[in-house]
């Protein structure tokens, strides 16, 4: 049986659907973050080399992963928007950007907090850190470019092109620790092997799941705001059911 995805791509259908999904994602996010924090602080043992400073990993790695994941997801929506000329895709990309920027900032900040006790420096111009800083500038650039263009259609297209071009930086960030001699350590956990104790990995992965669920909830919620803001004037919201939809929620 084919699912009619386009049914949910229309803003009228999206609003109530998002309204139903946001609470579930929020609960899942809260639950997994609580479990992740519990395992991270009370079950995972102290690291024999880094002491307890390593516990920053439970927020640093998920934030860094989200910063890259969200960029790719944003670029995919931007590409879909350009390819299909679909406004909801552009709106999805618009809704993701601020959350991605926030996680990039958090990855850099928690990295500095971890770098100081382990390397003796808040910041070094190493390939991993520099490329992640560039990612932050990309997010900020995409958000500001959109904000600086009044014509929504042009703003959509311009920021989508910028997002697509910038996706080249994501593999650079990911592989930077392999391609160059970085002070930043290599991947502790890959698909095939792990260099960490089981509760450490468990806490990190559960926190990652929590950040995913958080990102779903908050971007869906922002998508709802974007739809309400942008579709207030056009024809469908005047003549059709936006007010019914809003009231019915």
């Amino acid at each position: 049986m084919a699912i009619n995805w386009f049914k949910y791509s229309s803003p009228q259908a999206f609003l109530p659907l998002a309204g139903r999904m946001i609470p579930w994602f929020s609960v899942a996010a809260l639950a997994s973050i609580c479990v992740g924090l519990y395992i991270g602080f009370f079950v995972a043992p102290t690291d024999f080399q880094q002491g307890d400073s390593y516990r920053i990993i439970f927020v640093h790695v998920p934030a860094a992963w989200m910063s890259m994941f969200l960029y790719v997801v944003m670029a995919i929506w931007a590409g879909l928007g350009l390819g299909l000329n679909a406004r909801p895709s552009f709106m999805m990309a618009q809704a993701i950007a601020p959350t991605g920027a926030m996680f990039t900032f958090l990855a850099l900040l928690t990295g500095a907090m971890w770098g100081k006790p382990t390397w003796g420096a808040w910041w070094v111009w190493d390939a991993r850190l520099t490329s992640e800083l560039i990612l932050l500038f990309q997010y900020v650039g995409i958000i500001l470019l959109r904000a600086s263009i009044d014509d929504l259609r042009r703003a959509d297209r311009a920021s989508a092109v910028l997002a697509l071009v910038g996706v080249v930086n994501v593999p650079i960030i990911y592989f930077s620790v392999k391609w160059w001699n970085t002070l930043h350590q290599g991947a502790s956990v890959t698909m095939t092997e792990s260099k960490m104790a089981t509760p450490m990995v468990a806490a990190m992965l559960i926190m990652m799941l929590g950040f995913w669920m958080y990102s779903f909830a908050v971007t869906l919620a922002r998508m709802r705001c974007v739809i309400l803001d942008r579709e207030r004037q056009p024809s469908w919201s005047k003549h059709s059911s936006i007010h019914d939809v809003v009231e019915a929620r």
Partner: protein, 52 residues
């Protein structure tokens, strides 16, 4: 569990500042984002009601 007391827990083996700033700022940012989106939604709903 490896913590003998609450103060030992908060000290984080001497790395308390780094650990708690990391987790604290992350919590503040995420909570702040939720509140910002919430407010934006409330005002967007209010404005679309006003237009009707």
């Amino acid at each position: 569990m490896q913590w003998g007391s609450a103060s030992e827990f908060f000290a984080m083996g001497g790395y308390g500042l780094y650990v708690w700033v990391s987790f604290g700022v992350t919590a503040l940012c995420m909570a702040g984002e939720v509140i910002a989106v919430w407010r934006r939604h409330t005002s967007a709903v209010a404005e679309s009601r006003d237009l009707s």
